[in-house]
């Protein structure tokens, strides 16, 4: 469960480039809910995810995760509660480390790291079983460096890594945007499976309105640092991409945006 109360984030305060990226976001996300987040460039989507992960600290407001007030916690401290997959496949894993080393890193998330061997016999076997379940044949490549994998494989392993430490919240920041369409579909299906099997509370930022409506239980639209649309259930089921576009245009003050190819999908 995530509770966000009136958070504000400003970048470059007091400079000519000052940007009020979040202007009072209020939100409650119950446990196990899968929320998709859309919005144009600069709407505050990534900043919002960053503020949940701890990369960006809110200057005002409060964030609670699973009952703990994490507003002032930094990223490493929140990592025990929150798992993430980034847009750039290179960003979410260590290219120079092996697949199993990356998994061992993720498995220790939220725990104190001591001098025990990171890869004992038992753990290796556990990792092999988990990665075999992806169905990508990676179980025989545990000693390969992560950098040798394709973007799709890296995102798949990153998703798996997100589940290794038992955190209950998953943040996906356009994690399929850098992939080709077929691979993106595979990663999205895997996402759906992993979220369901692990009962994860999930926020997925996407540029695709189609994805935003097809996946998850609830859709948020952000605009200029505020939540301008929040739909779920039947209301959401009745929505289609043209509706969303129309709603979106209204938020932009009636400006026609159907030619904005980034938003159609």
């Amino acid at each position: 469960m995530i509770v966000v109360e009136d958070i504000h984030v400003t970048f470059g305060r007091g400079t000519p480039l000052e940007k009020h990226a979040l202007r009072g976001v209020d939100l409650t996300i119950p446990e196990g809910e899968f929320v998709t987040v859309i919005g144009s460039n600069g709407a505050g989507k990534s900043t919002f995810l960053g503020s949940l992960a701890g990369d960006v600290l809110a200057e005002q407001g409060r964030i609670a995760i699973d009952g703990a007030d994490v507003t002032r916690w930094d990223t490493p401290r929140r990592a025990g509660l929150v798992a993430r997959v980034f847009q750039d496949p290179m960003a979410g894993s260590c290219a120079a480390l092996t697949i199993e080393e990356n998994m061992a890193l993720a498995a220790a998330r939220g725990r104190r790291r001591g001098l025990a061997l990171a890869l004992g016999g038992e753990r290796r076997k556990g990792f092999r079983d988990r990665i075999a379940a992806l169905g990508l044949g990676l179980e025989n490549r545990l000693h390969d460096r992560m950098g040798l994998l394709s973007g799709g494989q890296r995102q798949a392993v990153s998703l798996l890594m997100a589940t290794l430490a038992g955190s209950k919240i998953l943040l996906l920041d356009e994690h399929t945007a850098a992939l080709d369409p077929a691979t993106a579909d595979f990663v999205l299906d895997l996402t759906r499976r992993i979220v369901r099997d692990n009962r994860l509370t999930t926020l997925m930022v996407t540029h695709s309105m189609r994805q935003a409506l097809d996946y998850g239980d609830r859709t948020l639209m952000l605009h200029e640092g505020r939540v301008v649309l929040d739909v779920a259930g039947d209301e959401r089921a009745g929505l289609d991409v043209p509706h969303l576009l129309a709603l979106f245009a209204k938020q932009r003050g009636g400006v026609e945006i159907s030619d904005d190819s980034l938003l159609i999908g």
Partner: protein
Amino acid sequence: MSEIALFGAIEIGLVYALVAIGVYLSFRILDFPDLTVDGSFPLGAAVCAVLLIAGVNPWLASLAAALAGAAAGLVTATLNVRFKILHLLASILTMIALFSVNLRVMGRPNVALLMQDTVLTPFYGLGVPDHIVRPLVVGAIVAVVVALLARFLGSEFGLAMRATGVNARMARAQGVDTDAHIYAGIALSNGLTGLAGALFAQTNGFADVTTGIGTIVVGLAAVIVGETVLPARALALALVGCVAGSILYRLAVQVALSADSIGLQASDLNLVTAVLVAVALILPRLKAKARSTRVAR
């Protein structure tokens, strides 16, 4: 090359192998170009020499030297992590400051160890010539350090340290306190260098403030030579490569200096080393460039 010169080269190579491992930790594993070693090496020598003269047990004196080196590393790490000074500049500041510190520690520019017991004393007079005892004892210490460090880097803490150097953003997202790992890694790196300084003082019988000049370049040269002769992905092998690189580097220098026909003198050492490191750094770049232009055609 005489037998004594050969074993002398191996001995000094083994002493600097600890520097090479320290440099490998900072430059390669943490991706933190740290020049502090130019100060922490003579610091280790100075601390050890002063303690030996004061009658302290040589092993304790060596440990104290390692701790002093680690403290110097912590200063650099603090300047960088806490006060956001560029890592290179932070380490240069510490290095310059250590020159004065080392003079204070010794009270004069150099200290001779003539009659003092060292970690080597118990092994002299066992029937093995002194010039062979020294590389054997230092080699044993280096072997222990390599084994311990390989195990450490395979631990959860060590793995997190490696991740910090490779992809700090990912490491933080996985709950790694990257700042703490930079502190620990730079302290460890300079601790090993301090220990190397202590062994240098004990094998050579003196500590001198000027012995630190160029330590970083010698360490880097050893790392690069090691990577060339032993291009290993496994960490333990990479550490062994640092040791091998350090010894090979010293042997090459010894050969170059003892070949009269080239006309090099001992004082040319730093120039030779700098040229060697520069060439080793430039070659891969030129090779890659040659390859890419070929592809472009």
